[in-house]
Amino acid sequence: MKKIITGILFSALIVSCSQNSGSSAKEVKAAIPGATELKQPIPQESIFQLKDSFETQDDKPFTLAMLQGKPTVVGMIFTHCTYACPRLTADIQHIAKSLKEDRDKVNFVLVSFDAARDTAARLKEFAENMHLDKNWILLHGDEDAVRTLSVLLGVQFEKDANGDFSHSNLVSLLDKQGVFQYQKEGLEADHAETINRLKKLMAQN
């Protein structure tokens, strides 16, 4: 009896081990073409520790850890917003433009408060209307995921009876590992310091 249990446990162990080595072999293969793509472990204090799944404007599943490798500029908006959100988006566009060609080395992320109305199609339309290029990732997620991210970024928001949102306007900077670095509040704010810090983050490994 004991032998058989041991046998079963042992074979279970082998199965799990071989599964592990299989996946790590795959990772190594994927990493070979560009040595810089080798992913470092995510630090404890990284916002990438948030495991919730979002969806992009192209209707693809997305986790924040997928931003790893480039610094990230992130804002939270909703597309039915007529006053603040287009301005906040324009502020981030201004940051992107100031980087010229180097803007390809940065993720520009907008996360929607509006779990109900901001579908992938709606976000795509918004991206097109605002002329956002391929460096922009627009995300929507369920209420829990969006609230958790807002808590981590210190963004306050509330849904009103009309389905619109009151919210604080913040532009946040994350380093390549998703660790929060800097934040600027307000619309049409002076982002010289944001750009300055972003350039430093781009230069980091």
């Binding site: 009896m1 058989i4 204090e45 006053y83 210190g154 963004v155 306050q156 509330e158 009151s166």
Partner: protein, 261 residues
């Protein structure tokens, strides 16, 4: 071989049932809160009264004993293992160790768990198949009339509580009053986390609705409150507004809610 396998599987199966029974013993009573209108504390042009749908709420705050079970079964939420991003260094500081409340604190087993972060409260409620109540739900339920309070008004009762310093040993649940929805201790014992505690739109300690604030916040221009005499409400909302998700505070606990099926 087959026989042995079956035996093992059966053992594992029943082991599972026994493990489940252990958690079943700590089933918490929930009460149904009827639907109603909640008038948001802060009035803006868009902030009309909200309809709060009927929902279920834990009749008391989550206790130390209940939270202990959670940390035992979810090692990543133990004091020594928790991620600082999700709970600051005060997390469960009143316990003796990771999974021991302590003999010295024997009388707090049935007291509300405090020194827990929003993330920890969220994780606990999820683990129970529940969720944190929204601000609207909590406020609506918390406005329920006291059934056994000697105070004339709820505000008087709350202000009397706010006036007192935190007791050295937190009293047990059900030690204050029961309200019209059969909820215990909505006020008078601890402050409680809500799902959207960070929905309080204010900037620092600014008191006016300045043009600068209008720029910083959508719809912040016409900020006003529904009842200027509700001093207790002012305190509650500004307390919530001062919190961050990983804060762990000695007088802040939580209870869970659930949608009606």
């Amino acid at each position: 071989m087959k026989f042995f396998l079956t035996t093992i599987l059966v053992t594992v199966f029943f082991g599972g049932i026994f493990a489940q029974q252990k958690t079943v013993t700590s089933v918490k009573k929930m009460v149904v809160i009827p639907a109603g209108m909640y008038e948001p504390f802060f009035i803006t042009k868009a902030n009309k009264p909200l309809r709060v749908a009927s929902f279920k709420m834990d009749e008391t705050a989550v206790t130390n004993a209940e939270f202990l079970e959670f940390t035992k079964q979810n090692p990543k939420w133990r004091r020594s293992k928790v991620n600082r991003l999700f709970a600051d260094s005060n997390y469960l500081r009143h316990w003796q160790s990771d999974t021991v409340i302590g003999i010295a604190h024997k009388n707090i087993y049935n007291s509300p768990v405090v020194n827990v972060s929003w993330f920890a409260a969220q994780a606990y409620c999820k683990w129970k198949g529940k969720r944190l109540p929204t601000v609207a739900e909590w406020e609506f339920a918390g406005n329920g009339k006291p059934l056994n309070s000697k105070y004339k008004s709820l505000t008087d009762f709350i202000l009397e509580w706010y006036r007192k310093p935190n007791p050295p040993v937190l009293p047990n649940i059900k030690s204050t009053y029961k309200n019209q929805y059969n909820l215990f201790d909505m006020h008078g014992l601890v402050w409680e986390w809500t799902f959207n505690f960070n929905s309080f739109i204010s900037k620092g300690d600014s008191r006016g609705s300045t043009a600068d604030e209008q720029k910083a916040f959508c719809a912040a221009g016409s900020l006003d409150v529904k009842d200027r005499t509700d001093y207790a409400g002012f305190l509650r909302f500004s307390y919530r507004g001062s919190l961050k998700g990983n804060y762990c505070i000695a007088n802040l606990g939580f209870r869970c809610a659930k949608d009606l099926k």
